[in-house]
Amino acid sequence: MQRVAEMMLERAKALLADGTVNRVVGWEMGEFFYDLTPAVFTADGLDKFVYNGFSGANLSKYMIKECAKDGKALVFLKPCDTYSFNQLINEHRVDREKVYIIGVECRGMIDIRKIRDMGIKGVTAIREEGEELIIDTIYGEKKCARKDALLEKCLCCKGQEFVVYDELLTTGEAFTVGGNNRFAKVAELEAMTPGERFAFWRNELSKCIRCNACRNVCPACSCLQCVFDNPKSGIASKANADDFEENMFHIIRAFHVAGRCTDCGECSRVCPQGIPLHLLNRKFIKDVNEFYGEFQAGADNTTKYPLTNFTKEDVEPSIVTNRGGEN
């Protein structure tokens, strides 16, 4: 990863110097080793540019804002991030001509919250030794398996393919990330009785503080103004007044991004309450796959979306009652 980071910095400097781009969108070093912030760099700020195991943030959505500015911007995208960018092209939210994309190799990103949840407190540094993380803390050295500290999205990695790019920076070494079945938990939930499933989601969604981090980070939520932020909409709300709203906000959002969600996993990564929001999206993705055939949003620029493309083979609306189960 260190080698890729060095190559990235070199390319960023070169592309700025030859005028191909006038700025660089990447990750900026923080106060600690894990708190990287997405940032727009020019040549003199690149000393703070960093790419490491904590560059989990998907930079695709920032390109909507960048495309409104003058000149071309360089952005570094990990393989899964390129699906989000491609989907934004399909939705005409970014201008491909104004973005220079370098695809960068990724071996899975680490989730500092998972490390904390293991009861490891006061982390001050982490180094990777093979498949193990050696964690320095105020309270002594700790260890954990790297795979136990990966972000949820990385456990179900889409693979090392880049679906949109101008050039690639990879080491060429063979490695594997993830390997989990992303629908395993969804299938588990489907197998529950409606009552058990309701209890599961109530338990999770009752933690929601309606901070909107999931919505604001989501590349598929790119409305200029969300209906829930519009005081004139009649349904604007800044808090969940009751458990009905707690449930419905997230379910409605999942409906809105159904068929467009690339399963980038940002919603769950940023949730301050640790709600597994990706499970709602994956339920929709699984249903779309089963009803209309395998579909991956953002995989290309030509396939028609199953939910906006009528074919005679489409399932009838009665599928809802057929599959609804008893309650």
Binding site: G30, E31, F32, Y34, D35, L36, T37, P38, A39, V40, A57, Y62, I112, R113, R116, D117, G119, K121, G122, V123, T124, T137, I138, Y139, N203, E204, S206, K207, I209, R210, C211, N212, A213, R215, N216, V217, Q225, D229, N230, P231, A236, S237, K238, A239, N240, A241, R269, V270, P272, Q273, G274, I275
Partner: protein, 342 residues
């Protein structure tokens, strides 16, 4: 000073809950937040900071204030009764306790906020000294001693025992209720533990944040700093920092039209939101840089200017660990405080 074996802490909670409601850190779906104690609640005694702060107990996220009922030309006004639930809030850390001083300045100043005042009056706060601070902690920067919190009762966890000391009249009254479970504790043990925690606090990465540049007379200079643009560049405009913050106290008052009446409620608001303080003429902070700047100027300049120098940050570190893009008050203090280097 009294003490009780940590193995018997369940008895203590049961005893407290006999006489009033008890709220304490409870784990639910992997997250620890304040919740009402029940015999089968998964109480977390080791968690440092709850995800949400203790402010919810006095200033809940949503609160009905008054109902209006319309019949013909008559409007009936039905104010909601103030909370009369007597409760004990257990396990509050020193930083969150300090945040109540900040909130008191806002809600107990004239005109007194009766909803908040009622809860403050009915609540007895039992604090717990920290034993294993996180790297994201910086309460000491704001004059908070993690080893010696304020509160009605203060407790320490040392060598498998819970040490208990009443600090106020309310605390004495609570101590009377539970005294039978306790035995006399040795103050020296607690002193040792305090010294150890203070030593850790002093060595934490954010322990030396410099607040000296944040003075009322620097208002214009800070406000006009070119650094805000860069600091706020990646801000998502979500409300995470404000909602997990123990001192953020802004709320919105809204009317819900039931079809045959109005329910007026207030709910937390966030200066990060586009419709924050929206008025008839529109919003006075149209872009995210201005909203972002408002949050930190309020905490570091405006609030202390109006409250005898008290900053409205207590260094709990929640924004440090929760912000989706890892931008937080520690980074802001460092960036703006470094202006002399330019």
């Amino acid at each position: 000073m009294l003490k009780l074996s940590l193995n018997r802490v369940g008895d203590l909670f049961a005893k407290i809950a006999e006489a009033q409601a008890l709220y304490l850190p409870v784990e639910k779906a992997g997250q620890v937040d304040y919740d009402k104690w029940t015999a089968d609640a998964k109480v977390s005694m080791d968690h440092l900071n709850t995800a949400k702060s203790a402010k919810d107990l006095f200033f809940p996220q949503v609160e009905r204030m008054v109902d209006f009922k319309m019949e013909g030309k008559n409007i009936e006004i039905k104010p909601h009764a103030l909370s009369d639930e007597k409760f004990v809030l257990f396990g509050v850390r020193a930083c969150d306790m300090k945040s109540m001083e900040v909130l008191d300045k806002v809600f107990l100043a004239e005109p007194v906020d009766s909803f908040y005042a009622a809860r403050r009056m009915n609540g007895t706060v039992v604090t717990m000294a920290c034993s294993e601070p996180e790297e994201s902690c910086f309460c000491n920067v704001f004059g908070v001693d993690a080893a010696e919190p304020a509160g009605d009762v203060v407790t320490w966890k040392v060598d498998g025992e819970l040490y208990w000391k009443a600090l106020t009249e309310k605390g004495e009254a609570l101590t009377e209720q539970i005294k039978a479970l306790m035995e006399d504790g040795d103050e020296a043990k607690v002193e040792e533990s305090k010294a150890a925690v203070r030593e850790i606090m002093g060595k934490l990465p954010l322990a030396n944040l410099n607040l000296a540049p944040f003075q009322p007379e620097k208002l214009n200079e800070m406000f006009n700093s070119p650094k805000w643009a860069k600091l706020s560049e990646a801000c998502l405009g979500c409300g995470t920092c404000t909602f997990v913050c123990p001192t953020c106290q802004c709320y919105d008052i809204r009317d819900y039209d039931t079809g045959h009446g109005i329910q007026r409620f207030r709910c937390w608001d966030s200066c990060m939101y586009s419709d924050f303080t929206m008025m008839a003429h529109g919003t006075n902070r149209p872009d995210q840089m201005q909203r972002f700047r408002q949050r930190f100027m309020h905490k570091l300049i405006y609030f202390p200017s109006n409250n005898d120098g008290m900053y409205s940050c207590v260094g709990c570190g929640r924004c440090v660990s929760k912000c989706p893009i890892s931008m937080n008050i520690a980074k802001v203090i460092k960036a703006l405080g470094e202006d002399k280097d330019e």
